[in-house]
């Protein structure tokens, strides 16, 4: 079971990233919990400065941009 956190206050890209994660997880039947983190203090605790941030099992994988779907699937399947 992997733990996915989407870091972002609620801008378009952050919402899209969460949606994309849910799609990828559902389509590839990945066993995962997806969490949206909107609190700035918590976002900052991961040391990122541009949103959206993608954290998988406590590790920052990606920040600042929306990855494309196949890249995201590649990351989530190879944890």
């Amino acid at each position: 079971m992997i733990n996915i956190k989407v870091l972002g206050p609620g801008c378009t890209n952050c919402v899209n990233l969460e949606r994309l994660c849910r799609e990828v997880v559902a389509e590839n039947s990945i066993d995962a919990v997806i969490e949206k983190v909107t609190d700035y203090r918590e976002i900052m605790s991961y040391g990122i400065m541009s949103t959206p941030g993608l954290v998988v099992n406590g590790k920052v994988i990606h920040t600042g941009k929306l990855p494309n779907k196949s890249t995201l699937a590649h990351w989530l399947q190879n944890i």
Partner: protein
């Protein structure tokens, strides 16, 4: 994956194709106008259509090239690296550097707060942080390319240099005023985790190209419609609305037009492409250049949604100072250019 990346070099092959199209635009337009649809020479409609057919691909081509190049440049400047560069800078030099980094660091207004927190945490002076935050949205490649393509290099250069000036000046003033106490208290307690610096140096060049291509897809995909609209406005109203329609309201002789344009522009928000059709219409109809640029800057650089976001980290006196100082800077620039031109 590796093969996949190599293939990005193929995008560079498009550069000669780009050059060919750009250089032959005028003859292609003539071919379509007079060869294919056989419009009469020198009629008003022909002029409008040929202006439109020439300008739209021209500006879009410029936009694609510049966004691509800027995208590659941006891949060298992550916010994390910018923060490191600004961490030990004093006022003035810090303001100069902060404003310039504001142009090249990838930035979207939704990241303004994490960025602000990250800067404060790393000890970047408040004034320097503001220089960055003012320059980042106001001066961007889209605004500069559109001004260059539609109004010439002088207008683009004026916009860019005065935007830089405003960012440096406002950041410097805010730094001098020592307003640190008006930053929300919790900001100083934020403990940022070890930042995961993407190792910019180790990114392959193919990866940077792919970053540039992504930027083109994202940005040009979003703004092309405004380019088309802006040029359509230029082609359409030409001759239909009296040439000096705006002179009485926004012409050089109207002294209050600059502050009025800024006051109207501050609460408004638009991206730099969306404002272009309006700028086009105003300039075409006799509004003064300084007044129009002041309006454009206040719409892009200052906005109600942005100040509401900043309210999370700044107390009201600092927000008002920020809007006030930047507003005054824009007004000075507006008067200056109305005076010069």
């Amino acid at each position: 994956m590796i093969l996949n990346r190599k293939y990005y070099y193929l995008w560079l092959l498009l550069v000669p194709a780009w050059l060919f199209f750009y250089l032959s635009l005028q003859s292609l337009t003539d071919l379509i106008i007079f060869g294919l649809i056989k419009l009469p020479k020198d009629s008003h409609l022909t002029n409008s259509i040929s202006f439109f057919l020439f300008e739209v691909p021209k500006v879009l081509l410029l936009l694609i090239l510049i966004v691509f190049v800027v995208g590659i440049i941006r891949s060298y400047f992550s916010p994390e690296r910018t923060r490191k560069m600004l961490g030990d800078k004093k006022l003035f030099m810090g303001n100069v550097l902060g404003s310039m980094l504001g142009i090249v660091t990838p930035f979207c207004s939704c990241s303004a707060i994490p960025l602000f927190l990250g800067f404060v945490e790393a000890g970047v002076p408040l004034g320097v942080t503001f220089s960055f935050l003012i320059a980042a949205p106001m001066i961007n490649e889209v605004a500069v390319v559109l001004l260059f393509g539609l109004f010439g290099w002088k207008t683009a250069l004026i916009y860019m240099s005065s935007g830089l000036f405003i960012a440096m000046f406002s950041g410097f003033v805010i730094g001098k005023l020592k307003l640190e106490r008006f930053v929300e208290d919790w900001v100083y307690q934020v403990k940022a985790g070890n930042s995961v610096i993407m190792e910019e140096d180790k990114i392959t060049f193919a990866k940077r190209i792919s970053y540039g291509v992504d930027e083109v897809k994202e940005i040009v995909g979003k703004v092309w419609i405004y380019v088309v609209l802006g040029i359509a406005v230029g082609a359409g109203i030409h001759g239909y609305v009296p040439e000096n329609f705006m002179v009485g309201l926004m012409g050089k002789g109207v002294w209050w037009s600059v502050p009025a344009a800024v006051l109207i522009g501050i609460p408004m928000y638009s991206n730099s492409a969306g404002i272009i059709p309006i700028v086009q219409a105003l300039l075409e109809k006799g509004a003064a250049l300084g007044t129009v640029l002041a309006f454009m800057m206040s719409v892009i650089g200052l906005s109600l949604p942005e100040t509401i976001i900043l309210k999370k980290v700044l107390k009201l006196p600092l927000i008002f100072t920020f809007v006030g100082v930047v507003g005054v800077g824009i007004i000075i620039v507006g008067y200056l250019f109305n005076f010069i031109f």
